[in-house]
Amino acid sequence: MIPEFGHFALIVALCLAVLLASVPLWGAWRRNTGAMALAPGLAMGLLVFSGISFACLAVAFLQDDFSVEVVANNSNSLLPAIYKFSAVWGNHEGSLLLWILILAVWTAAVATFSRQLPLLVLSRVLAVMGFVAVGFLSFSLLTSNPFARLIPGTPADGQDLNPLLQDPGLIIHPPLLYMGYVGFSVAFAFAIAALLGGRLDASWARWSRPWTNIAWAFLTLGIMLGSWWAYYELGWGGWWFWDPVENASFMPWLAGTALIHSLAVTEKRGLFKSWTVLLAIFAFSLSLLGTFLVRSGVLTSVHAFATDPARGLFILVFLAIVVGGSLTLYALRAPAVNSRVSFAWLSRETLLLVNNVVFLVATLTVLFGTLFPLLMDALGQGKYSVGPPYFNAVFVPLMALLVPFMGLGPVSRWKRDSAQRWKAELLLPAIAALACGLTLPLLHGEYNLWVALALVLAGWLLLGLGRDVWLRLRAAPTLARGLRRTPASYWGMVVAHLGFAACVVGVVATSQYSIERDLKMEAGQAETLAGYRFEFVELANFRGPNFRADEARFVVTRDGEEIARLAPQKRRYLASNQIMTEAAIDAGLFRDLFIAMGEPVGQGGAWAIRLHYKPMVRWMWLGAILMAVGGFITVVDKRYRRQRAASTASAGEVARGAQA
């Protein structure tokens, strides 16, 4: 009964979404306040019924109801309860339901926290989100029903969740990623509402900015977790592969990064208006495109869900309606005339323009590389694959080009700045960054130019930010007052930029300084790597809830002092007979020690063992976390609360306008 109940709730949710997409929009057109005022209630209803539907599927998983097809295919009675729960989104149908639930969460959040917006704007925004929900709900119901039953033919036990997905990182990775993906629908909805209303002023940028920042922060966390998962779960210490599915999540992030910077210009200076709208459409379109690529089977990838051309066609048609429709609207309604506001070449506007150009080029580069095999195939030019060398060759120089401008950004002024002032403020940080960056790698023995370059760039960011913070606080009469006067959005920017600097250092240091060695080892042997002594103490058998494993127990010492006990495993999962490598890692701020088991060698109990020494690898993920934290901090800025009072006032104007 419960699955049928969930199915029914999903149908109710679809009906509510259809109403949400139509009634408030009609109300906005006819200036019918009653119809517009229905939007928040419908948004809440959508959340309630998607929530019920999701809960029903979760119950089916937790109760091992193998008469439900997705449960039978993706779960097993031996699976630990937490993985039974995360298995809900470890498959196409369930993850789509999660997508829908998260869209409903965002829609309800907009309905709740934006009550002070003019009703006209709010109803349009919610209607656009309702329209997106209609698309995904009908996609789920028509092509990918998560509640399909296997009656008759209910199996005695399920086929188990793919062991790669039986991992704590994968419990929260998809929800965070979807919070980001789907969150861009809010910026998109605000942009479309602004185009519909024909009033493309700074206010829509102010309204959508906090939402966009939160979505971007979630997406950052989601991508970071995916990279971290790949690092410890796939068992050979890699952390980014430029796989089509990774790219599908990375492209909206790149476009979103451009968007959050462009929104700043639009809000503060009323510039780049059409451009920002276009970026908002672009970021969400890339989220949809990612969904298409992952679920349609047009590209091959290890991450891809089981694919089906009918599903692909459905998403493509939906993509054409949403993206084609919004770009048509954009072409017809966006202001074609350049703004009268102007800015000088040396100004913060120019620097943010550089940011936008770099991130747009980066997005298009990744898009092109991802779609290249498809394009060549469609043109009859044969089959191609695009690998990491292409992406690295284009991406690394782009980011290196970005950082010098990024260091100037915070110190620079709007409208007009002068080279003299930049020189006066930043000459010292520049020299210090050069000096530190070039000398620090000397401490590590062999000199590495790439690391030196990364340190110079990171130092430049760090010291430039430090200088700016100091200038700001010095200008205030007292330190306390200076701190109080500095808005949260500024601190958010500082933290996010610091995160980026940490990321640069982490990526370069770990790529350049990592040491790995593959050895044949048996119990009792020891090996030394980068000053750490790895002793293989014993080989043991381990029995997990749904797997058996060989476990190699290691003690790691340095100068006779014990650092860690590590126990990598080679697991065989009972239901699927799949073999998995479970690496053991001793994590540290400055280095990770990583042991993975290969295959047994010979009959004497010896194993191929891989030892890694990975310096600074955590900096990459800590950097990403800092970026996300920065994104979250900007949202508590007081001015978004002040804006509510202001928008209540403008709502009054609209009401008066409607009466007149």
Partner: protein, 186 residues
């Protein structure tokens, strides 16, 4: 160009992209250019990974072989590797083509994960891959005892694909199928 027309540019670009995506739906990225099916395996002369001796297509004559394209940079290859080990243990003849890779990493990989290949052809420049029309690793070619390509599988070979599809193909082209690897239908 009139300013308003310029704003149509994103729409036009998207329309072109959507056309390609639509075309992509009817293409199978795993499909083989039909030209090579039932044609002899391309002529090549490349070194062996293990010994360095020069190999050519005579290697594939006399028994049914799977020719597996793999590389250490390929994530999916790592996924399918344990199953290839099982296939070899059960007596299937697998020839490896180490595609666009470097020899040291490849040897380390085999030492680590086990070596399912009777021999490995080093295709560092990717020329053999080009002749075969390789889309991306992993790919596996089913070659019969006369050295003729009879089937191409793109993507990971695991127990599910093997039993549902590949086992039957292997038997059909004359391969001896051990009972432990029989397909679901047979």
């Amino acid at each position: 160009m009139a300013p308003r027309l310029k704003l149509f540019l994103p729409l036009i670009l998207f329309a072109v992209l959507a056309l390609f995506l639509f075309r992509g739906l009817s293409l199978d990225p795993r499909a083989m250019p039909s030209a090579l099916i039932d044609k002899p395996f391309p002529v090549f002369s490349l070194p062996a990974l293990e010994s360095g001796e020069t190999l050519d297509r005579s290697l594939l004559l006399g028994k049914v072989s799977l020719v597996n394209i793999w590389a250490t940079w390929c994530i999916s290859c790592r996924v399918e590797h344990p199953y290839l080990n099982q296939l070899t243990e059960a007596g299937i003849h697998i020839v490896g083509v180490n595609y666009k890779d470097d020899d040291e990493s490849a040897k380390r990989w085999l030492a680590d994960l086990g070596n399912p290949y009777s021999i490995n052809i080093v295709d560092a420049a990717g020329n053999l891959g080009l002749d075969l029309g390789v889309y991306g690793a992993p790919e596996t070619y089913f070659v019969d005892a006369e050295g003729v390509i009879r089937y191409r599988h793109v993507g990971v070979i695991d127990e599910r694909v093997w039993r549902s599809k590949l086992a039957a193909i292997y038997a059909e082209i004359g391969g001896e199928l051990p009972p432990s690897l029989a397909g679901a239908g047979s």
